[in-house]
Symmetry: C2
Subunit: 304 residues, 2 copies
Amino acid sequence: MSQRDGIKAYLAQCAEAMEAALAHSLPAEWDVPQKLRDAMQYSLEAGGKRLRPALVLAAAEAAGGGKTHRDQTMHVASAIEFIHTYSLIHDDLPAMDNDDFRRGKPTNHKVFGEAMAILAGDALLTHAFYLVTQAASIGGLSADTALAIVGDMSRLAGAPGMVGGQVADMLGEQGITSIGELEYIHLHKTSDLIVFCVTAGGRIGGATPRQLELLSAYGRNIGLAFQIQDDILDLIGDERKLGKKTNSDVEQNKVTYPFLIGLEESKAQVERLTQAAKSAILDAELASPERLLEIADYLVQRDH
Amino acid sequence: MSQRDGIKAYLAQCAEAMEAALAHSLPAEWDVPQKLRDAMQYSLEAGGKRLRPALVLAAAEAAGGGKTHRDQTMHVASAIEFIHTYSLIHDDLPAMDNDDFRRGKPTNHKVFGEAMAILAGDALLTHAFYLVTQAASIGGLSADTALAIVGDMSRLAGAPGMVGGQVADMLGEQGITSIGELEYIHLHKTSDLIVFCVTAGGRIGGATPRQLELLSAYGRNIGLAFQIQDDILDLIGDERKLGKKTNSDVEQNKVTYPFLIGLEESKAQVERLTQAAKSAILDAELASPERLLEIADYLVQRDH
């Protein structure tokens, strides 16, 4: 099995574990309106690559606690899918991107109505924090570590993180002229949650402060590389493999990396960011860095 | 000074401290789009009675830690105003209640647009959890206690709490026929956050598990009494004192306590709930229960 097949199998395994965890995510004994449960569950189970939870698991393993702290890691990995899912539901709303479909399925508000979609998003976001407290309540994770994870999550998903990136994206539509502005958007809209994934996994696995810093650098770099690769695939990707139309950025006049710096320089940039991410991981001297290194390569070599 | 004047002065003092804390709530050094800061700040500063933070402060004092843990308490009190404020912004959206004004000021989406209002709400909710972690990071509050507060907040503000109540309210509009259904809505839409306020204050003040249970009972009862009193004031209140039109519930065909059980029985119910709340506090044998007892009386005697 090639390295590439190995990481694909690993990611598939993580995704499968995640699907199982998300299938019964709200405690059954809670007295919650069924329609709200349905709306939350609909989007949680709407698929996706589950890359973020895989990064939590891979980082926990890298730092040395992936096997001993499997249940705690899964709780935090679920939490990040809750955050990611809420952000997609709110993003798709008529007042935002006004999307009727996501991954081939009708968006949440098309199925449950706008009001329910807003509230389901709010409930998903709120429950993400509950899941982190649960990671500590099952034992094996100190309250200090869990609280640090809550702090990271609220910062990196909030105003100075993901939400700030979404606001900048919204305000900047059509008007972006510099790489600096575009980078601000991607660093916050995409990289911040990825930084959260790998540092949370690192914290659970017992990473040192210096290792957490290097994991952050890894997350920032692969997040940005991932986003530029998305821009590149939209321009030159295979529609059948991508499962969506290409050239949508050009049609929507979206300012992208290839638009600002050209296709070749964008590819070179992805390569540089990937190398920087891998260097950070090597510098961190983690117990088992292999999966994180493979994921960095996988993200840049992917064709969908 | 009468007891009533005393509690009014106390609440005014709490509200003033809260206004000061909310005036610079997001760290100034964070790189956050100015428009997002403005949108969050606009609604945070849009006034209101600030009853919820006062309940956090009063409960912390009652349990014995109000003075020694003033800064920690203020952080958690701010957090609850962030949650309350986000819920109002999302509630006012066109897809929800579609309100153009709140407390005489244009609602958030009327000033900043719908997309920004959704994102400002998301950012406020997320930052509430950050504020709780800050209560611990300044010292004097254990990570265990802060994490328990995070757990309570995510549960009581989330799907099994406030959001669940809002969903039930939305689904039940016009169709509610029983007190049980109406009670579910108010217990979750209103009481759950009040339960959070007094138990969070209690936790900071060092309350025992039994005291926390009795504080919860107090919160449930005054939350429900507050809501029934609102229904009563809408029917027989003084428009000038209320600052809004009365009889709006009748005009909107809203199902209320007076509608279901009559005005006199509603008043009796408010009285019973207030007594039950005060009994719980007396049973709890807290160090300084006075303010909590006075607040229970104040809520039922209020005319606006």
